[in-house]
Symmetry: C2
Subunit: 251 residues, 2 copies
C-alpha cells in the first residue's frame, strides 16, 4: 500500500512508457477514481476519449507541437493509452432537450471555467490513481495546438471542447520519477490578502535551484525566470478561439 | 495509513465543520501536496489566499450566492480556513519585467485555460491531501458570483483572477461523508471517438438512482435530468466577463 501524501509530494511526469499492456482491473480503478472526483454542481460535464487506436495516437503526435521545444512529443504515440479530456455540455444539452428546457450556459464565459476546472480536477484524480497503481503519466495541454483537427478526428459534437490529454502507461525500463522543484511554499500563500512580497523575495532562490535542475538535464545557463519569459513572451494557441466559437460557445 | 484508491472513490464534500483548529504540520502537508501537483509548463501560475480573518470569511459568505438554492453558504464563514485559488499571471509578469521581456499570454483565451485547469489540478491535490489528513472540504465555484467584490477585498492585482475556493476543516460532530452517485462509468468513456450512445442509454438509470438520493435529502420528485435542466436553463455569473477584462485579460 502506498502512502497518499508520498504519492502527492514525490511525483513527476513520465515520458517513456513500456509496451506492457494495462490490465482491465487497473484501468477500472483509474477510471472509477476519476469520475468519483468532485465536479461543478454534479453536472459531470466532461467526457474522456480513450485513445488506443495507433493511427489516432499517431495523428495526435503529428498534430501536437510542444511550445517549449517546437517538436512533437513521441510519448503521445508510444503510450499504450492516451486519455483525451473533453469538456462536454453536449450531453447536458441532450438531457435538457428531453426535458424541454433551453440550455443557456454556452452563452457565457462561465461554461469554459466550469469545463476547464472540472477537467483539471478529473485529470488530477486520474493522475494520483495512476501513480497508486504503479503506472506513470504525463498531462498534455499542448493538444490545444491542434484543437480544430482534434474536433474533426474524434468527432467532437457541438458544445464540447478538448481541454487536455493524459498519456498513461507502465514506466519503461530504467525510467524513474524525477521530481521538478517547485517555488518555495511561502511564495504561493497569501495571508488574507494578496501580497507580492513573498514571491519577489523567493524567486531568485528558485532560479538558482532550477538552474541546477536544468543543468542535470543538459541545458546550460537557463533559469526559471528565463524559461517562463521565453515561454510567455509569445502568444500561444491563438487560433483556438475560432474553434471554441464554432463548437457553439460564446464569450 | 489510508488507502489512496479508497480516498479517491469513497469521497464526499463536507459542509459542516467543527471549531477544532488545524495544526500547522497538517496544513503544511496539505499545502505541500498542493504545490507539488502537475501544472502547465512549470509556470506555477496560481496563488492561494489563505482566508482565516473572520471578517473576510463573513464577507465571502455574504457576497457568494449558491445558484442552486439562491442562498448563502454558511460553511464559508464557519470553516476555520477558506482557501481562495487565484490564477496568477501577475507574478509571471513581474519575473518577465525583470528579464525585460513583454508578457503576451494575457491577450489570448489560452490564459484562462491554463489558469483554470491548473487551479482544478491544485484544488484536487489539496482535496485528496485534506481527506488523507482526516479533514473534510468543499469546493466553491460560486465565488464567481462576486468576482468584482473579491478582487477588491483581497487586493488581487492585474493579471490575476479568482477561480474557485475550498472551505476546509475537521468534520463537525455526527457528520460523515455522503457519497453522491455518479453517472455510470461507461457513460463517460468513448472508444477512440465521441459516441452519444452510452450516455443516452444510461441517463435514465442514473435519474432513478439520483431520485432516491434526493429523496433521502428530503427533496421529492427531482431527477438529475430535472436538476441540470433547472441549473443550466439560466445564464450564470454573466457579469464576471467585465471583471475578467478589467484584470488585464483579452479573449
Amino acid at each position: 500500500m502506498k502512502d497518499t501524501l508520498d504519492l502527492l509530494t514525490h511525483r513527476g511526469s513520465i515520458r517513456k512508457f513500456s509496451d506492457k499492456p494495462i490490465p482491465e482491473d487497473v484501468l477500472h480503478n483509474i477510471y472509477k477514481a476519476t469520475i468519483c472526483s468532485q465536479n461543478y454542481a454534479n453536472g459531470q460535464q466532461y467526457s474522456i476519449i480513450v485513445v488506443t487506436d495507433q493511427k489516432k495516437k499517431d495523428f495526435l503526435y503529428e498534430t501536437t507541437v510542444s511550445p517549449t521545444s517546437g517538436r512533437g512529443m513521441s510519448y503521445i504515440k508510444k503510450a499504450p493509452i492516451f486519455l483525451l479530456f473533453v469538456m462536454d455540455f453536449n450531453k447536458i444539452d441532450r438531457v435538457m432537450k428531453k426535458e424541454r428546457v433551453e440550455m443557456k450556459i454556452q452563452d457565457s464565459l462561465e461554461a469554459l471555467l466550469i469545463g476547464s476546472v472540472d477537467v483539471g480536477i478529473a485529470m488530477q484524480a486520474a493522475t494520483v490513481a495512476i501513480a497508486n497503481e504503479g503506472l506513470g503519466s504525463v498531462a498534455v495541454g499542448a493538444i490545444r495546438t491542434s484543437v480544430k483537427e482534434i474536433i474533426e478526428t474524434f468527432e467532437l459534437p457541438k458544445y464540447t471542447y478538448p481541454i487536455a490529454g493524459l498519456a498513461i502507461g507502465y514506466l519503461d525500463e530504467g525510467v524513474s520519477i524525477v521530481e521538478t522543484p517547485r517555488l518555495p511554499l511561502k511564495s504561493f500563500l497569501h495571508d488574507n490578502s494578496y501580497s507580492k512580497a513573498a514571491f519577489d523575495e523567493l524567486v531568485d532562490e528558485y532560479d538558482v535551484k532550477m538552474k541546477e535542475a536544468y543543468a542535470i538535464k543538459g541545458i546550460a545557463d537557463l533559469t526559471w525566470s528565463k524559461f517562463v519569459s521565453n515561454y510567455y513572451g509569445k502568444p500561444i494557441y491563438i487560433e483556438q478561439i475560432e474553434s471554441y466559437k464554432k463548437q457553439g460557445f460564446k464569450l
